[in-house]
Amino acid sequence: MNCQEALDLLYDIIDQEVSEIDEAQVRSHLEKCRHCSEIFRLESSIQNFLDAKTANVGSSDNLESLRSKIVSDLDGIDRTEMDCSSKSKLGGTTLFMVSAAALIILVGASFFTSDLVRHYNVYGPLEQAHFAAQLHQPSNSVMEQTLAAVKSSFGFSPGTVVNSFSLIDARMEKILGVDMAHFVYADNGKRVSVFVALSDEFDVPSGLKDHKVVRGNLEYYDHHCRGCRLVYHQSGSAIIITATEDKETELLSFIPGSTII
């Protein structure tokens, strides 16, 4: 082993990331080479110094208050989970009791359960995709490919900046059996997902069609649910769906781009 080969493994040895064989070879070189051995000694000494200094880097005095904030967030999540399940159980029980009692109420109850089923089947996958994007690592090349694909096949051109939000991620996803582009915009911890699909392949859910909101010359279909709000909007041959869990962000004024005519 020569000096360069030994020095290449310098930090691997300091970080204990080297195989025993390599380490033995380096050690045997160091016994013969004073220059390298002095560099190794100094670098280990610097690392020991930094380790000692950073070991004292305390975290914060606010650990307890942070802990209680987190615990109360968890309580909130627990409550919505239980609420949501009690709704569905209630739907089931009502259905059972009422089916024995009166046909009219049965109809009402089945509407109620079908509402829940619709929620999970129709809106659930979009909500999940919105939340899952937060764990995803953006990739510039995928983002560029997606932007190009959306322009050419959906005739839609999203902006990289919308209001105070900027585009941080984009990729193609299969949601509800349809190929959609999924854009993620972020601003200081707030996030909006924008899904773009072809209106030939995807439509505004039938249950929402009665709830049209008109703003200027744009028509929206607005779906509020517990964890996430979804706004559907037709633009040329594309359906644009915006989604956010952030209650402050007004999706009706969030216009991510324009259809190329």
Binding site: L7, Y11, D12, D15, E17, R34, E38, I39, L42, E43, S45, I46, F49, L50, D51, K53, T54, N56, V57, G58, S59, S60, N62, L63, L66, R67, K69, I70, D73, L74, I77, D78, E81, M82, S85, S86, K89, F131, Q134, L135, H136, Q137, P138, I168, D169, A186, N188, G189
Partner: protein, 195 residues
Amino acid sequence: MADQKLITAEKRKQFEAEALPHMDALLRTALRMTKNERDAEDLVQEAFVKAYRFWDKFEPGSNCRAWLFKIMTNIFINNYRSKSRSPMAVNVDEIDDNFLYGQLSTGEKSSTPEQELFAKIFDDDVKKAIENLPDDFRMVVVLSFLEGFSYQEIAEIADLQLGTVKSRLHRGRKLLQKELFEYAVKNGYIKDKAQ
């Protein structure tokens, strides 16, 4: 309804036993990443909320600490990392690989010239030097130095190639050494040989 209550309570119990004890470590790293207490606490809070929402995605028995750091690092990269690239765009490669060796070596056998210098540098100076590193380097340096994650773990946490982790860590070290050296020269602890 009782079932759901039990399921939720069980999930909560697991989360509090496995995830919450890492709060201290997450906050320590968050402080060095965001460089201010308020953002650090928000970042940790956000990370735990996300982790709880995705708790069913966590594989029991796997490394919970690394999983939490991955979630937090991801939020940091997406939401907190300073939008403009760090002004400290020094060309790291211009720093000699064995920069401190050149500066400190006396050429004498069995001397430890660095010890005298180290004795004069405070914890806070090291903290500041780490905080002055550009985001990309700081992240891997903190995960390695403060948290003791392996190269492979850092690669998974920060979603980087192993080679990128190694090179960023290497360059982060060089920058850190240079920063501490310049600090020592400025304070008259040592003389810059080049001058």
